[in-house]
């Protein structure tokens, strides 16, 4: 069940070849600088920006509708520290070829680079449900934005307060 480290000297071309061989069904639009494709340098990470700029860059002027009736966004109300904040997002969807969730974006408003991750999904999953642990710089709203197969955008958001000790921490 365990994996082990593959030789890190594998070149990027090898990596791309392997991914292509797995048969990527759909080519998703490039995220832009946020998700460094192969490098972690500042140029690839993109600028520090306010969340409004991030949203504009990701979605342009596309309307983002309230998705709280179909998106279950779970986060602690108070995070014991900002280093590890568990989040799960579940979007109610039939996950058919005609009607499925293409991507789930997780965005933390007050982070210097607000986008935490983009989860790109396929109908074969059968359910649009993902989770991870976030790093939050400070107390912030965290949003989950679901992009559906018809291009529409739905959003749910929650406030997370990051706490700290009263003495040394």
């Amino acid at each position: 069940m365990d994996g082990s480290a593959i030789d890190p000297r594998l070149t990027r071309r090898d990596v791309l070849r392997r991914v292509a061989a797995a048969g990527v069904a759909a080519i998703l639009p490039a995220l832009g600088p946020e998700a460094a494709r192969a490098q972690g340098t500042l140029a690839n990470l993109g600028p520090e920006e306010a969340v409004d700029a991030t949203l504009k860059r990701l979605f342009g002027s596309r309307p983002i509708k309230d998705g709280s009736s179909v998106i279950k966004l779970e986060l602690p109300l108070i995070a014991e520290n900002g280093a590890v904040v568990p989040v799960t997002v579940e979007v109610a969807s039939p996950m058919t070829a005609q009607n499925h969730v293409k991507s789930i974006y997780i965005i933390s408003d007050k982070n210097r680079r607000p986008l935490n991750a983009r989860f790109n999904l396929s109908p074969a999953l059968g359910q649009a449900s993902v989770g991870t642990n976030l790093r939050l710089g400070e107390s912030t709203d965290v949003r989950a934005i679901a992009e559906l197969s018809d291009g529409s955008l739905l959003m749910a958001k929650r406030e997370v307060k990051v706490t700290v000790g009263g003495c040394g921490g």
């Binding site: 069940m1 365990d2 994996g3 082990s4 480290a5 593959i6 890190p8 000297r9 594998l10 070149t11 990027r12 990596v15 392997r18 991914v19 797995a22 048969g23 990527v24 069904a25 998703l28 995220l31 946020e34 998700a35 460094a36 494709r37 192969a38 490098q39 972690g40 340098t41 500042l42 990470l45 520090e48 280093a83 590890v84 904040v85 568990p86 799960t88 933390s108 982070n111 210097r112 680079r113 986008l115 935490n116 991750a117 983009r118 989860f119 790109n120 999904l121 396929s122 074969a124 999953l125 059968g126 359910q127 449900s129 993902v130 989770g131 991870t132 642990n133 976030l134 790093r135 939050l136």
Partner: protein, 110 residues
């Protein structure tokens, strides 16, 4: 910690039936290097973090996550997928230094 980078652990339910939606939990040991500041300015370097996670099942890609340095150290991911046939579920983690770490678990029906 450096010597453990890339250790992967995957967990699936102990009992799976054909057609079930299966919840998968995965963790990989990785520093997910935080952006450093010196004198108020960001230090430019090639930060070491996982930027992509690829999930394949029976050789087909099911999902692909684009991740950033604002995912926690020793990143954890969970997702659900429909188990249609017995066979391998593979999760591959790619980092910004060319590292590639894989874990595979066999889906069996009981």
């Amino acid at each position: 910690m450096a010597s453990e980078i890339g250790r992967v652990r995957i967990r699936i339910p102990s009992s799976i039936k054909s057609g079930d939606i299966v919840k998968v939990r995965a963790l990989v040991i990785h520093p997910m290097e935080i952006i450093q500041r010196k004198d108020g300015k960001v230090v430019d370097k090639n930060y070491h973090f996982i930027h992509k996670v690829v999930v394949t099942y029976l050789g087909r890609e099911l999902a692909q996550f684009e991740t950033t340095q604002s995912i926690s150290e020793n990143p954890f991911f969970s997702f659900s997928f429909r188990a249609t046939e017995p066979g391998p579920l593979k999760i591959t983690f790619l980092d910004t230094h060319g590292g590639k770490y894989e874990g595979t678990t066999d889906i069996k029906f009981s």
